[in-house]
Amino acid sequence: MEQEVILSLENIHKSFDGQKALCGIDLTIYKGEFLTLLGPSGCGKTTTLRIIAGLESPDEGRVILGGTDVTDWEPNKRGVNTVFQSYALFPHMNVENNIAYGLKLRKVPKEEIKKQVEEMLELVQLPGFGERMPSQLSGGQRQRVAIARAIVNKPSVLLLDEPLGALDLQLRRQMQVELKRLQQKLGITFVYITHDQEEALNMSDRIGIMNQGKILQLGTPEEIYEHPKSRFAAQFIGQSNILKATVTGRDAAGNLTLSFGGGTILASGQGEPGEKVTLSLRTERVRYGREPRQGFTLSGQVKNNHYSGGMMRTVLTLPTGEELLVSGMGDGIEGRLPAGTQVHIGWDPACAVIVERGWPDEAE
């Protein structure tokens, strides 16, 4: 299926007071998709969003919107709307006037504005709230008004800057579902910014992992989660064991064999014998038990168990002193094993992914 490109960023660079904020962002966004930029604070994701909105101008590079170079356009000319992190509702206007703001600027007839505002309030489940002032709303309600104020303008792209950051966990989950529903219903392209991996995985069609002003990896949530391409991506999303291993060769099934933790482990990927590589292994992919099973190539000892609600985290110690973190339903394979139990350990070779050639610096 040929997808229509709605927005592309080409080699965007931006510095603030000599500090590099963005170092060559290239990004293509398709019409109707939900794209999330995920990264820690200070990674440049908000700057990227502001450059798309026209609130910052890039030092270098181009912003192409709907086939037109809008790099030097004023923000009001772009037909892109933003939901700000702080909501930025106009405190001197009631909800109705906040939502109608963009429509009034475009000289939409009064009756039409009234109708559309009411539809929007309906859509964000705040019917009858038109007369309220922003100060009379709760955080979640302000959030909905901010969304309504943006989408009423039918933007070609909606930019959302950590819109759920200020809400509590329950409300955040509920709003995630609602946002996704809105996005699918309206068919608007969403560019969403968050540092919350769960949010990104739940809602996105594609995720771009950002760090230090670069997009490290771009892909579907599954690709990002199952096949992280960097140690950063592996550690930022989900929980991973980072293994420093040395390639020894290949087994009969074509898996890469590596020496690690006093034994031989299996992984997927390419490597020359003798090469040092860094692997990422999701904590929930590790299997262990008292009895050896097919593919259990390591042995070790249970160090301790941490119970955290629906999840059990277990630390295993290998003979070489390395530790493996395992998370699961608390049953491993044979149920919770007491500390000190000798166990056999293994995993599906496809789950151990090479994220780096060589080993990370010890100093890090």
Binding site: G54, L55, E74, P75, N76, A88, L89, H92, L105, R106
Partner: protein, 284 residues
């Protein structure tokens, strides 16, 4: 030991004494004077009379009132037109430059205003700096009459009171959440539209406070119109001064003062109402 919570602390006593002696007593004295009769030669006759208040309606006095308000309104308008952009751009400067600009404005403000008004006389008189420069560059042949005009009074008033306007607006511009302005731009507003629909309404408390802080003193200031207007522009302040010092009509001067205070209070009431600033915090 129980303390009576309604009793104000003893430390407020000096303040209360000060206010009583220097504010309340003179006020009551002026109020009392305004209801007395002028003595034939000097002072007052302690006899109740409403003559002075009836006199307020005399067209001569009404004209001074009207002129005073006209000057006060013009002063406020010009101070606002000059003060707003100044305050706005100062507040948008990088932090380290802001205090420098404010200092440059405030340092002359701390010198005696009479001295500064004499400075304006030197600038404005017919052989003064402005006329000299204009003639030097051949813009004019004969000196313009600048001093002792209504315009000169206005210039002096605006000059003297501008800092009040600037500081009040500066404070409110500093408090503006600029993401709101960005939001308005993002929603399709041009720079001007964003300013008039978002920035200006958000800085309205400062604008109102500034207007009150300029309007009220400009009704009462007398030495500026004396010096720059050549006593031709009679304002309320001048009138009160004349009644008290020259005409020696103390009851009339007192009645005019009370009338002026009534107007001032009315302006403050209006300010309280429209700015929803009940405690007058914006005026501090």
């Amino acid at each position: 030991m129980k303390r009576n919570k309604n009793r104000p602390p003893i430390t407020l006593l000096p303040m209360a004494l000060w206010t009583t002696v220097f504010v309340a007593v003179p006020l009551v004295y002026v109020l009392g004077l305004s209801f007395m009769k002028k003595a034939a030669t000097w002072g007052v006759v302690a006899e109740f009379s409403l003559d002075s208040y009836k006199n307020l309606l005399n067209p001569v006095y009404l004209k001074v009132f009207a002129q005073s308000f006209w000057v006060a309104i013009l002063t406020t308008v010009f101070a606002l037109l000059i003060g707003y952009p100044f305050a706005y751009f100062t507040a948008k400067l990088p932090k380290k430059h802001r205090s420098l600009v404010l200092m440059l404005m405030l340092v002359p403000f701390w010198t005696n205003s009479l001295v500064r008004i004499y400075g304006w006389m030197i600038l404005l008189r017919s052989q003064g700096v402005i006329n000299g420069l204009l003639m030097q560059f051949g813009v004019i042949d004969k000196p313009l009459k600048l001093l002792y005009t209504f315009g000169a009074v206005l210039v002096g008033m605006v000059y003297a009171l501008l800092p009040f306007m600037v500081l009040a607006i500066y404070n409110s511009v500093c408090k503006v959440d600029w993401s709101l302005v960005e939001a308005s731009r993002d929603l399709g507003a041009g720079r001007a539209k964003a300013f008039f629909t978002v920035t200006l309404p958000l800085t309205m408390p400062g604008v109102m406070a500034g207007c009150v802080l300029v309007f009220i003193p400009s009704v009462g200031l007398f030495f500026i119109s004396d010096l720059l207007g050549g006593a031709k522009t009679m304002l309320l302040g001048n009138l009160i001064k004349n009644e008290l010092l020259s005409a020696k009509n103390w009851p009339m001067g007192a009645a005019l003062s009370i009338a002026m205070m009534a107007v001032t209070l009315l302006v403050i009431r209006l300010y309280q109402h429209f700015s929803r600033d009940q405690n007058l915090e914006g005026l501090l």
